[in-house]
């Protein structure tokens, strides 16, 4: 086998191995998307019931709460950015980070100081590399977030918003995550989580012409709201974590599918080149044999006569 041909053969072998790996990753990601979607669906009843309850308190009483009252001049804001721990997911992380950066720029243009909270190693690495300050970071659970993880994330954020702005607290909480629209589309979106506008929640959940009953609060409307709002924030963060996980797996699946396709194309091209090289080698050998034989024939013919 000629040197050229050997080089092609070796490359084909290595690309085939890579293709097997990306194919396996694609299939793993595909099964995880389904699992993650199932988790999103399983958490929906809790979220809807909770939204209903928040709406009920919001419309049924005139209670004021630090989590629902807007500061007159907001000076500090927190941004929670959800990324993943691992890459190989196409533009998934960079889209989320870009959305967070745009949001941060917008908030700073409004004259607010921004604290950044990050979930996921990719986002943390991005910020650390640029030596930007991270208020708090979490990682290790982005592939399969549990409710307890949402609680650990929500804890310090709720604490920060309840603190006075002068003491390092914040007035607003924004969240940036990747919404799972469909298997093919995931979009990075940002939204304001706190202060919560009860009207917006009511609008979101209210079915047309539904009149909410006049609830009897136990022990009191304030206490119920006190207990309810942190849970609501946790459940929203949990939902965002789950959607982000599902999106990440979908993005990985797509990235790995195109990697597998590209590897297939590469193998095809290389095999063509290898075939051409082999053919060239054979042609050369034949022409050498023919050339050699005719030279030999000429030489013997000359000596005979």
């Amino acid at each position: 086998m000629g040197a050229q041909l050997r080089v092609y053969k070796r490359r084909i072998k290595s690309v085939t191995a890579t293709k097997k790996i990306t194919k396996a990753m694609e299939m793993i990601a595909a099964s995880r998307v389904v699992k993650a979607q199932r988790k999103v669906a399983a958490s929906t009843p809790y979220a809807t019931e909770l939204t209903r309850a928040v709406t009920a308190v919001g419309t049924g009483s005139n209670t004021q709460h630090p989590l629902t009252t807007e500061a007159e001049t907001a000076t500090r804001a927190a941004v929670l950015l959800l990324t993943s721990d691992r890459g190989l997911a196409g533009a998934f992380n960079s889209n989320a980070i870009k959305a967070a950066e745009q949001l941060t720029a917008r908030l700073e243009a409004e004259g607010k100081e921004v604290d950044t909270y990050i979930v996921g190693r990719r986002g943390v690495a991005h910020y650390n590399f640029r030596e930007r300050k991270i208020a708090k970071q979490w990682s290790g659970f982005t592939d399969q977030p549990e409710y307890a993880d949402a609680k650990t994330v929500a804890g310090p954020l709720i604490e920060a918003i309840e603190k006075d702005t002068a003491e390092g607290g914040v007035d607003e909480l924004h969240i940036v995550y990747t919404e799972f629209v469909s298997m093919m589309t995931q979009t990075a979106i940002d939204g304001r989580l706190l202060p919560l506008s009860l009207e917006a929640v009511a609008e979101e959940s209210a079915k047309k012409d539904e009149i909410l009953p006049l609830y009897d609060f136990e022990p009191s409307a304030e206490d119920v709201l006190d207990a309810l709002l942190p849970r609501y924030v946790e459940s929203r963060i949990y939902n965002a974590l789950l959607q982000s996980a599902a999106s990440k797996h979908a993005a990985t699946r797509r990235a790995m599918k195109s990697a597998t396709d590209n590897a297939g194309d590469l193998i095809n091209n290389l095999s063509r080149l290898a075939n051409a090289a082999r053919q060239a080698e054979i042609t050369q050998e034949i022409s050498e044999i023919v050339g050699g034989a005719s030279a030999l024939a000429d030489a013997t013919a000359g000596s005979d006569k």
Binding site: K39, A42, P45, E49, R52, P213, D216, P219, R231
Partner: protein, 124 residues
Amino acid sequence: MAAELHVELVAADRSVWSGEATLVVARTTSGDIGVMPGHQPLLGVLESGPVTIRTSDGGTVVAAVHGGFISFADNKLSLLAEIAELSDEIDVQRAERALERAKSEADASAERRADVRLRAVAAR
């Protein structure tokens, strides 16, 4: 046949139990509360504790609930809990071990959780 109310017991990550019932007893921060069909609309904060559901076919479902809310309107009762376990899902030995461990580590919240689980099993 007695009137019925529809019960949904949901935890943060799953729906635990749903069905028709004639009586639900749960522990709110201001004491135990029993809800029967036709109760006035109610929204309350739950304590950690067992929730007893008397189903319409005469059976009893007991669940250990850790924190959450009870809301009742239009003959529909929802129990929202961060963590909820049906009594027959609870592993008694594990709960006992957890209780002992919590006692030795003086972890009050873990002790209460384990205690609630065991009480839910005992009430079955």
